[in-house]
């Protein structure tokens, strides 16, 4: 029997699993598919809008919210230490910032999106008064630099002066004869120093003195320092602009995080963040990707096992504790049928925020449907309508928890991180209480 089964390998699930392993728990991390990190923008956001722009996202989580919001259970200190935890775990080549400032970084459309912990390859995009030049790739259909640059010019620098931005185009061929290469294909090609050099050769002649150079966020996938090399070769500051999915920055985070979890499972001593002394337990952990959970067993108020559809036959995994981190409607873990009935699709847990009018006919209006989700206690245990935990050993984390408008608020990453850590920590501390009680007896 394992200590904990974590279901879902998005930011919330990976966070909970890692934290549990760091605390000496054996974990089975079960995921139907690759988690949602690579659908996002590849930064860690805590809070951008409420709906006014938030300048300090970590302090912001206190002022934001009523008791229906997931942040209600967390303090600014919790958020600050979560930010530090994820930044240290991912490394300073992938995440920067302390969470007390919202960077405002250009998107592919030229809007300035607030984010708490960006990738270092993005931070020079923040308007600073310097001239910006955006580079488009003719063979990449997801970035239109003229549109983004002109939209930037409609906005201002922090000092109130209009942003100066222009666009150039280069024809970088990353696969022979192909004019419709994906962001991922560009990124893989740009892992190669030769292609990096080719890009610089194409771009360099167009640059003017002092310009900051923005590229679509495809500057290397495995090579997280590709942007630095390109910057050095161009002798200009360089930044990446997030485009629609597939998200290369998201893939970088996802690959780093999953590799870390897997290697921690194999050889805990090899990873700085998973301490040696827990090696025995961590090595009993497993990552089951492609494991679709299709059922579960209970005993009284406890979940005892989950059943996973695996090749040939279903597998039953027993554990003491369970963390459900399967995401929201976007992941299929919340669903609405043709009669308008919403449900949590695995444990059929009670949902909060359900009303007769959950869908707003105005696209730009508030969409109550996307606030629907679980309501949890301090330990992240889903509650029923009377406010009691549905199962004493089942916790939830991430987008499954209702009450937030994650995309509009830019709060989804912070919620995943905070709830994932809390779910793990409350398991650990509950376990400590158990063993204390045991020793007293």
């Amino acid at each position: 029997m394992r200590d904990v089964v974590v279901i879902g390998a998005g930011l919330a699930g990976l966070t909970a699993a890692t934290r549990l392993m760091q605390q000496g728990k054996s974990v089975a991390l079960v995921s139907k598919g690759i988690g949602g990190i690579q659908l996002g923008q590849g930064t860690i956001d805590f809070l951008g809008y409420t709906p006014d722009l938030i300048h300090d996202p970590i302090e912001g989580i206190n002022q934001t919210v009523d008791d229906s919001h997931p942040y209600f259970h967390f303090s600014a200190d919790d958020a600050a230490s979560a930010a530090e935890w994820i930044r240290d775990l991912m490394g300073n080549d992938l995440l920067v910032g302390d969470g007390h400032k919202n960077y405002r970084l250009p998107t592919a459309l030229g809007s300035l999106r607030p984010t708490a912990l960006p990738q270092p390859s993005m931070v020079f995009g923040e308007p600073s008064g310097r001239k910006i030049v955006l580079v488009g790739f003719d063979r990449l259909k997801d970035f239109y630099p003229d549109l983004a640059a002109e939209n930037l010019r409609r906005q201002t620098n922090p000092d109130g002066t209009p942003i100066k931005a222009r666009a150039i185009h280069v024809d970088l061929e990353v696969r022979e004869g192909e004019v419709d290469s994906s962001a991922v294909q560009f990124a893989r090609a740009l892992d190669s120093p030769d292609v990096q050099e080719e890009l610089c050769r194409l771009v360099k002649p167009h640059l003017l003195d002092g310009e900051v150079v923005g590229f679509p966020a495809v500057l290397g996938l495995a090579d997280t320092n590709a942007w630095k090399r390109i910057s050095q070769r161009l002798d200009h500051d360089v930044f990446e602009v997030v485009i629609q999915p597939p998200s290369v920055p998201g893939m970088r985070l996802n690959e780093r995080f999953t590799r870390l979890v897997k290697s921690g499972m194999k050889d805990p001593g090899a990873i700085h963040s998973i301490p040696d002394e827990t090696g025995v337990l961590a090595s009993r952990s497993r990552f089951i990707l492609g494991g679709h959970v299709i059922g579960f067993d209970t005993d009284d108020d406890r979940v005892t096992s989950v059943t996973v559809a695996s090749a040939g036959h279903p597998t039953t995994i027993q554990a003491k504790e369970f963390v459900l981190a399967t995401g929201g409607f976007e992941a299929g873990s919340l669903a609405m049928d043709s009669h308008g009935t919403v449900s949590e699709t695995l444990f059929d847990l009670p949902l909060h925020g359900v009303t007769d009018e959950m869908i707003n006919g105005d696209y730009w209006g508030e969409q109550p449907l996307f606030r629907v989700g679980l309501k949890v206690d301090e330990q992240m245990r889903p509650l029923d309508t009377t406010g009691q935990a549905v199962y004493s050993n089942l916790r939830a984390a991430g987008g499954l928890i209702g009450g937030a408008n994650r995309w509009r608020e830019k709060s989804g990453d912070g919620i995943a991180l905070l709830t994932g850590l809390r779910a793990a920590d409350s398991i650990v501390s509950a376990g400590a209480i158990d063993s204390e009680e045991g020793s007293k007896k």
Partner: protein, 527 residues
């Protein structure tokens, strides 16, 4: 003020207006068509896409049935590119009595509508998902017609004959002097400029909006009652032929495979205002139930869009019931000379998309008669631009085009993956329009009409639009925002199942990753 001189002004750019402008232009009249929005943005673009065989009407209205059967053949000849010859079935499901089926074949023969009763085995071979309790099946010549292609085909043909097509122009005034129509004034909604079109004849083909137009010429109390109906598109072709319930016409009795989707329709309820057509939840449920009766499991498939259209039904107490001279069944012509003393002004309403060409022929005949002109109608013989090769549309056409036009794999950018819209095609359409919004483009190439409903293609389309000379970033950004807003109108009423998941992802992209909401607002409204 801009001025244009013409013989005939046609008001309304639906199928009737487009048919009329083509017919009048082909007969040698200098003709101008005025449409307040895009062509076929009203009723003609908001139907289920059925090209009638006539089979629907053989019992209730045999004369219409015969007309449909004849026009079905003509349209396949002159507008092949807009039509897929899917064939159709009239089916008696386990929920239906066989009473209607018993007399059905004879009624078809009497109305000269080709029909053949087929064995259940044959029916299941054609349509494996049909209700296993199927009792009877009759094969007819139903097809699928793309209303936008049909209307644009007629309009392009009219342009070749010298007609002027003014879209996004609202009629503001119809002048008449001494009881004779003299000019139509309209407002270019995109530039704000007023245009005066001098003319001696006005044909109002404004459908449900016909009453408002008539009032502008001082002809009051033309009451058009919009009969509204909803349609729902499902993400797959659950059927390859049109399915009709073999019963007296009822709600939700037709399932039409159109392009890569299939469409169930329709309901019928009185709408107070043709500009505001709700998609009521009870009607959505009614359509899903009806689909379930023909195709068990229908509810479980993915609904991707819904819309409502308004049939124009004229109620006019002042037209004498005997005056059926110019009336085809289901179509009415009001001669305002007799009715209101305004000569050179006819209002046309009613009718069916399948018989749009025939209606146009009759109206223009009526106009010629009033003018004392004798000019022959030629619209039945000449194919419209895009259809001159007489090749009927097939579902695999786009894929074939992409594959044959492209030397290397991925040698063209596919901007809308759902509907296989290439960058080249998109630019071609944008170039062909004087000014456009992304919905105008969508109606021509089906941009954003697949399962992602614009999630991945619409910001690309905005970026490509912005590359054109007259579209600045403010406009391009607003085109994108409006497109998403408009897609949502047809999405939210049928939001369930897999489409909820897609919508969540799309919201993640636009509201989350791209933060489209926080781009600066436009200074002026973008139309």
């Amino acid at each position: 003020m801009k001025t244009i001189d013409a013989d005939v002004v046609v008001i309304g750019g639906g199928s009737t207006g487009a048919g009329v402008v083509r017919d009048a232009a082909m007969r040698g009249y200098k003709t101008v068509l005025i449409e307040r929005a895009d062509l076929a943005q009203g009723t003609s673009g908001r139907f289920h896409g059925l090209l009638h065989s006539g089979g629907r009407y053989v019992v209730s209205d045999p004369e219409s049935a015969t007309e449909c059967a004849e026009e079905n053949v003509i349209l396949k000849r002159i507008q092949a590119d807009a039509i897929e010859a899917t064939g159709g079935l009239f089916v008696t499901t386990s929920a239906d009595s066989e009473d209607f089926a018993d007399g059905y074949e004879e009624a078809c023969v009497n109305a000269r509508v080709p029909v053949e009763e087929i064995s259940l085995r044959e029916a299941f071979k054609r349509e494996p998902l049909l209700d296993p309790g199927l009792k009877r099946a009759f094969a007819v010549e139903d097809g699928t017609v793309d209303g936008w292609k049909l209307v644009w085909g007629a309009a392009r043909s009219a342009e070749l004959y010298g007609a002027t097509i003014l879209t996004y122009h609202s009629v503001t005034k119809i002048d008449h002097k001494d009881g004779q129509v003299s000019a139509v004034y309209c407002l270019d909604r995109r530039t704000g400029e007023t245009v005066r079109v001098g003319c001696s004849f006005v044909l109002s083909c404004a459908g449900p909006w016909g009453g408002e137009i008539a009032a502008m010429a001082g002809c009051h109390d033309v009451e058009v009652v919009p009969g509204a109906g909803i349609m729902i598109a499902m993400n797959h072709r659950l059927t390859q032929s049109v399915l009709n319930r073999c019963i007296y016409p009822a709600d939700g009795d037709i399932l039409v495979p159109a392009h890569p989707v299939c469409i169930i329709g329709t309901t019928d309820h009185k709408a107070g205002n043709a500009d505001i057509l709700p998609i009521p939840q009870d009607q959505v449920q009614q359509m899903l139930d009806a689909g379930e009766e023909m195709i068990p499991g229908f509810r479980k498939s993915r609904a991707i869009h819904a819309w409502a259209g308004a049939r124009p039904l004229v109620k006019d107490s002042r037209v004498s019931a005997e005056d059926t001279r110019h009336m085809a069944r289901g179509m009415q012509i009001i001669d305002h000379k007799e009715r209101d003393g305004v000569s050179g002004f006819l209002t046309i309403a009613g009718g069916k998309l399948t018989t749009y060409r025939l209606m146009a022929e009759r109206i223009v005949d009526a106009m010629c008669e009033q003018m004392g002109d004798k000019r022959e109608c030629r619209t039945a013989d000449e194919a419209v631009p895009g259809s001159t090769d007489h090749r009927l549309y097939t579902l695999d056409r786009r894929l074939n085009q992409v594959e044959t036009e492209t030397e290397a794999p991925s040698g063209q950018q596919i901007i809308c993956e759902c509907e296989l819209v290439t960058r080249k095609k998109l630019l071609e359409v944008m170039d062909g329009l004087t000014d456009f919004n992304l919905d105008d483009v969508r109606r021509q190439v089906r941009l954003g009409m697949g399962p992602c409903q614009g999630g991945f293609c619409s910001s690309r389309a905005a970026g490509i639009a912005h590359e054109l000379e007259n579209v600045d970033a403010e406009r391009a950004s607003e085109l994108l925002r409006n497109f998403l807003k408009n897609r949502w109108i047809g999405l939210w009423p049928i939001l369930y199942g897999q489409q909820v998941r897609q919508t969540a992802l799309d919201s993640w992209i636009f509201l989350g990753t791209l933060d489209l909401e926080h781009l600066p607002e436009p200074a002026t409204e973008v139309i």
